[in-house]
Symmetry: C2
Subunit: 318 residues, 2 copies
């Protein structure tokens, strides 16, 4: 493990990306990891397979770490502190930027499988032999690919707002692609459309999430680049292609899995979560009402309670 | 409320039914309801709309009572003590026999709506203005009809292994009807087929459930009669008929609802629970792995945890 301390970090220009402003970093202090929270955990760096990965670790010092795999165009700052801190109460939590994303070096690859391989290399570079993963959206696809390619690295999976390879597209809102890519930095309005329902309750929950998401103001990620957006778009297109018998590969993912979605996910239709839970041999499904793709950010306390019970049970589903 | 004390109860012959042996009753003592458990709560009787309903109440003395609505041919003894006592830890729990079922007088009616009306009359006869309901299988159908006909009586609904009117039948195992009706008193073998998966884990859970289900040995229900079986069968057939736009009536059930099923329900295909949660305007769905119709008895602790969180939240889904 070659963890690199924080401090002022060099700005990196990227092809197609904006020059990155220097980030004000939180200096690591001689405190235990359990004293850090989502907003105070210093960004660290570790090199794996030629990528200098930005990551943050906080929460309990012992227990199986929970690795968060982020959504399309998202970096470490785009999780909900109520979710990350809530789950960190009883386990180590690790946020990271995959290859080329936000604070990590390199180019973002254009297949889900390559993203999974980078995630695996990152886990190994941290010296970890096994983790739990919480994959959201494209991160849920990466979680599945990771389980298929490196099953020994995973103890349990939480898959949120995701779909299997060659999943159902019917029900995807036709405006999703445009809204998800129209702004260099996605706006509140974009998220209220993409992640939440039009109902007043869901919209209010979206605004509350947005406020929480911006509580961290120092040592933040640079925005993700156009290259990341394009490569992840290509990876999503590739994930739509069938490979062999549809859904057959899911039968080989034997880890206990918790599959979560909102009732009306306009980005990745909710029926995909049902399909995942039907085809994964050991999966529990939870679907929340009055919510969409970002259900985990709409019901952070309930989501944390469900996930914590799932992860903490000595025998899964007891 | 005209509650009738326990003690030796008259045997009642029924058309098509067996003569009932006199039951040894638990005498009510001067103890608080919270000291009773599933196996010790005395059977009481209350008259409502000409039916003398057998019921048992135990658990906390305050809070919204949770009324259990039982499955096809089932009486009060056919719940899992781990589920009833688990939920009674934080609320009053009421088990009862609907009209003509087991220890209750009268004839079992042959529509879900009439069963719901009897349940409503029973609730009012107990002097209760509002309850939560946990309806399992045909009891889940009754819960829906109750919500449609007497919405003011219901605070929240738990619907397990059920389906909407005119739900999906594809996926029902062709042997279900025969196995569910072949024995005068359904056997362990019947339940292991109907309620559990063929996997060793699910079968073992089924046997453990069977052992728990028989812990109550005094003051037990008489078996349900052939008349109950035939009337409930007719009610189930009627529930298959479409009335107006399919699933449209579900939109009017605005109570918070928790919909629960096993991943492979061969009695009432699992997709029905997905459909219920999609069409009920305020419902959360939970589907458990490696389980069937009787998932609530396979994962009693997890089920109780999920239901208790749902019922206990001051604002549903928080």
């Amino acid at each position: 493990m070659r963890a690199v301390d924080g401090g002022e970090r060099c700005a990196v220009d990227r092809e197609h990306g904006r020059p990155r402003p220097k980030q004000r970093r939180i200096m690591e202090e001689n405190v235990s990891q359990s004293q850090y929270l989502h907003v105070t955990a210093p960004t660290r760096f570790v090199e794996a397979d030629g990528i200098r990965h930005a990551y943050r670790q906080f929460g309990q010092e012992s227990g199986t770490p929970l690795l968060f795999l982020q959504h399309f165009r998202g970096g470490m700052d785009h999780w909900d502190p109520m979710v990350t801190d809530g789950l960190a109460a009883n386990r180590p939590v690790i946020l990271f930027d995959n290859a080329g994303v936000a604070g990590s070096s390199g180019e973002t690859p254009d297949t889900i499988e390559a993203l999974a391989d980078h995630a695996a290399a990152f886990v190994r570079a941290l010296g970890l032999s096994q983790v739990d993963v919480l994959g959201f959206s494209i991160g849920g696809h990466v979680a599945q690919a990771l389980a298929l390619r490196r099953p020994e690295l995973l103890r349990r999976l939480v898959i949120v707002g995701s779909k299997p390879r060659a999943g159902e597209d019917e029900g995807t809102d036709p405006d999703v692609s445009e809204v998800a890519t129209r702004h260099e930095v996605p706006t509140l309005e974009d998220f209220l459309f993409l992640f939440f329902e039009p109902s007043p309750t869901s919209q209010a929950a979206g605004k509350a999430f947005w406020e929480r998401r911006h509580r961290r103001v120092v040592d933040v990620d640079p925005p993700t680049t156009r290259q990341t957006m394009q490569a992840q778009s290509a990876a999503l297109l590739d994930w739509r292609e069938r490979r062999g018998e549809r859904y057959a590969e899911l039968a080989t993912i034997t880890q206990p899995a918790l599959v979560v979605d909102g009732r009306h996910d306009i980005m990745i239709p909710t029926i995909n979560s049902y399909i995942l839970a039907q085809h994964l041999p050991n999966a529990q499904l939870v679907i929340y009402p009055d919510s969409g793709h970002g259900a985990l950010f709409q019901y952070p306390e309930l989501f944390v309670a469900h996930v914590a019970r799932f992860l903490d049970a000595e025998v899964a589903f007891t």
